[in-house]
């Protein structure tokens, strides 16, 4: 990797004129600048996230009946229902287990693949090509890809046919589809990329001279990975983990399609409530899920302060 050439990035007179002026100088005043810079993102969250979420919070305290789906009230009943039901704990346990497995797999896989991309693939354009290669499958809508799991993993699917032809198995493997295995496979398929991108990005920030110095002083490849690259890509690992954990904890689609509707998840519970137009309990479930995952992530951020070294 080549470091940017300072000479190369010095301005021409044209660009100097383009980027100066009174407006820009206010924007770049150190004290005001950060506020202006985070304004767009904050505005979007305020309008499209915070206000709707406040509505959800309020609704989580509403009452409901079969034929009167929202009764303005202040009741803790929905939360009591969540916490008093054994299925809540079972479902959280199942979902947490799935998340943990998926997290571990995607973390190891994501780290290894990012390491390959960042340190073994030599040109920047090749890195970009390989990253694009990993993105293209996602441009076929998930709605379409989800259906294709049946012909891929089903009883008469490609994988079973191949295994049977090769004589590895006699009977088709039933657990390839509509099982927890299938759910994990689906998650790994979808979310490893969510690990690769942040990890790759933080690896790209590692000063290559550090590695060269270590290699020159006789460090083995694995020592470099363990002692230099791993600690220095911590924030990428943490960010990828945030992605994977929060998506998997709240997922409904993958678990439903690949679990054949028979694997429970918090997301599925919420969606079942919503489909039956039971909004208040769904709202309460969502808030509990939010609290649970936020605590997880707060703990993670305590361990790895992803903003510290910005």
């Amino acid at each position: 990797m080549s470091q940017p050439d300072l000479n190369n990035t010095m301005a021409t007179p044209e660009t100097r004129r383009r980027v100066s002026g009174p407006f820009w100088s206010v924007l770049s005043t150190p004290r005001i600048a950060p506020y202006l810079q985070v304004m767009p993102i904050t505005a979007v969250f305020l309008v499209f996230f915070l206000i709707p979420v406040i509505l959800v919070v309020v609704i989580s305290f509403f009452d409901y009946q079969t034929y009167d789906i929202l009764i303005p009230d202040f009741t803790l009943m929905n939360y009591q229902d969540v916490f008093s039901s054994s299925v809540t704990y079972e479902t959280y346990w199942t979902t947490a287990k799935l998340s943990l497995i998926v997290w571990a797999v995607t973390l190891v896989l994501g780290f290894t693949l990012s390491y390959f991309l960042a340190f073994h693939v030599r040109s920047r354009s090749r890195q970009v090509v390989l990253l694009l290669l990993c993105t293209i499958p996602f441009w076929t809508s998930n709605e379409i890809r989800m259906i294709s799991w049946i012909p891929l993993l089903g009883r008469d699917g490609v994988v079973n046919t191949v295994l049977q032809t090769m004589g590895i198995v006699k009977q088709p493997l039933e657990w390839l589809l509509y099982s927890k295995f299938a759910v994990v496979l689906g998650y790994v398929h979808l979310y490893t990329v969510f690990m690769i991108v942040p990890i790759f990005n933080s690896m790209m920030r590692i000063d290559k001279s550090l590695i060269e110095a270590a290699v020159d002083s006789g460090a083995k490849g694995w020592q470099v990975v363990l002692n230099i690259i791993l600690p220095l890509s911590k924030s990428g690992l943490a960010i990828g983990s945030i992605f994977v954990i929060s998506i998997v904890m709240g997922d409904f689609v993958t678990v439903n399609v690949l679990g054949g509707g028979q694997v429970a998840s918090i997301g599925k519970v919420i969606v079942t409530d919503l489909s039956s137009l039971q909004f208040p309990p769904a709202a309460a479930e969502s808030m509990v899920l939010l609290a649970f995952v936020i605590i997880l992530i707060a703990a993670l951020v305590k361990i790895v302060d992803i903003r510290k070294e910005l």
């Binding site: 079969t66 039901s85 299925v87 509707g261 519970v269 489909s275 137009l277």
Partner: protein, 433 residues
């Protein structure tokens, strides 16, 4: 396309006080600011009328919209969603559509919200010819089953903007039926080597790991109840409106079956049932008639097996939201009248559904088609789907026979139970088990 010419003239927001969900949200957001911007009068009088029709893919055929455009000059803009999303929008965003294609059982939740207005039966041209299942609860003078949400129970309102159903016919109809049918088990005769005659086979160990049920609590539990009752394990007071005790016991039996691996998958949408059946993942499950036809079109043996306990019935109908008025309201009536006038009915009949006014549909079907789909007679020539695919060969008879035989044997209707809240919690338990 019509991205930009989304009509302004049909957006006359009704000046009705906010209702149901919205009332709730108004309280929630302290949104007292919701003013009474009453219907903005249409200024585009010369613009063509556009009706936004919210519903599912079940009835949203482009052919129907095209024909309506041709016959009436009204542009039908489909908002096609899956069943869950459609009913959520129907309740939470009533001004986002001008016509709603809703399941009858969902009316129990939609009507109390005040989002739908009663339709004046005097303005419905073929009202007298609508199948009596919907207007009197009878078929050929005999009462049809009242287990579950029989369509007649939710067909009438106590007033134009009433929020209560009327037990007797009034001049205000909730929805006008578009399609309805009698569901039973679909089977793969090539993969099943014994006769299937009863719903009990859904839970039979013979088909372990090869059956599926529908993942909608109130419907899935009814399929299960049909099976459990057929097995003689339980007797229900009303399968369509179970007591907590009945729900508990049913879910117990279902959970045991699930744990033993009885079910290959739970499905929600039409197409999933087709894929499960066509791929052979599942050999026996409750299905819709057109789904069976679809599997057959692929050259795969699939039978819509009539069972001795009868069918599970359901219906969908067109309703008009309360905010619609003036020219849009007229257009909505015009479209509904057109819908009942035969062309659309014939089209949907050929899909394997039934239509509200068979009399008019008959004029648009050949005698052979009518004989096959409605009278249960052997086909004289190839039976084709509306899109021209071959559904059945000469000599074959529709599974289950005639309209009267099938609709007359409905044992219970798709429903929302009074104990819905309890049921949904139990269903979540079941999925987690």
């Amino acid at each position: 396309m019509s991205d930009d010419n989304r009509k302004n003239d049909s957006n006359e927001h009704g000046g009705l006080s906010r209702r149901g969900f919205l009332k709730g949200l108004a309280v929630a957001g302290g949104a007292a600011a919701i003013g009474g911007i009453n219907g903005i009068p249409s200024v585009y009088a010369s613009e063509p009328v556009v009706l936004r029709l919210l519903g599912t893919g079940v009835t949203h055929y482009k052919e129907i919209a095209d024909q309506a455009k041709k016959d009436l000059g009204i542009t039908i803009e489909f908002t096609t969603l899956n069943s869950d999303d459609a009913v959520k929008r129907a309740i939470t965003q009533p001004t986002s559509y001008d016509l709603l294609d809703s399941e009858y059982f969902a009316l129990k939740k939609i009507i109390p919200s005040g989002n739908l207005r009663g339709m004046d039966v005097k303005r419905i041209k073929h009202y007298e010819d609508i199948v009596s299942i919907f207007t009197s609860g009878k078929l050929n003078g005999k009462m049809v089953s009242s287990q579950g949400t029989a369509p007649f129970e939710v067909s009438y309102l106590d007033g134009e903007f009433g929020r209560k159903f009327s037990a007797k016919p009034t001049e205000w109809m909730t929805v006008v039926p578009t399609v309805y049918n009698a569901d039973t088990l679909g089977i793969r005769p090539d993969l099943i080597h014994r006769p299937v005659t009863s719903w009990a086979d859904l839970l039979s160990p013979d088909f372990k790991g090869k059956t599926a049920i529908i993942d909608v609590p109130s419907i899935g539990i009814m399929d299960a109840a049909m099976a459990i009752e057929a097995m003689g394990k339980m007797r229900y007071h009303d399968k369509g409106n179970m007591t907590r005790g009945e729900i508990d016991k049913t879910m117990e039996i279902l959970t045991a079956a699930k744990k033993q691996g009885q079910f290959r998958a739970f499905w929600k949408d039409f197409n999933e049932s087709v894929n499960l059946m066509a791929s052979g993942e599942v050999v026996l499950q409750s299905m819709w008639s057109p789904a069976v036809s679809k599997v057959r079109e692929m050259g795969i043996a699939c039978k819509y097996q009539p069972l001795k306990e009868g069918y599970r019935g359901w219906g969908i109908g067109l309703g008009i939201p309360s905010h619609v008025k003036g020219k849009t309201l007229d257009a909505a009536y015009e479209f509904i009248n057109w819908y009942l006038s035969g062309w659309a009915g014939a089209f949907l009949n050929r899909q394997g559904y039934y239509t509200a006014v068979p009399k008019t549909a008959k004029q648009f079907m050949s005698a052979d088609e009518w004989g096959y789909w409605m009278d249960g007679k052997p086909a004289k020539s190839n039976i084709l789907s509306p899109t021209g695919q071959k559904v059945d060969a000469p000599g074959s008879v529709r599974d289950g026979g005639s309209f009267d035989q099938r609709m007359g044997a409905v044992a219970c209707w798709n429903t929302v139970m009074d104990e819905d809240r309890y049921l949904v919690r139990k269903w979540n338990d079941f999925v987690a088990a």
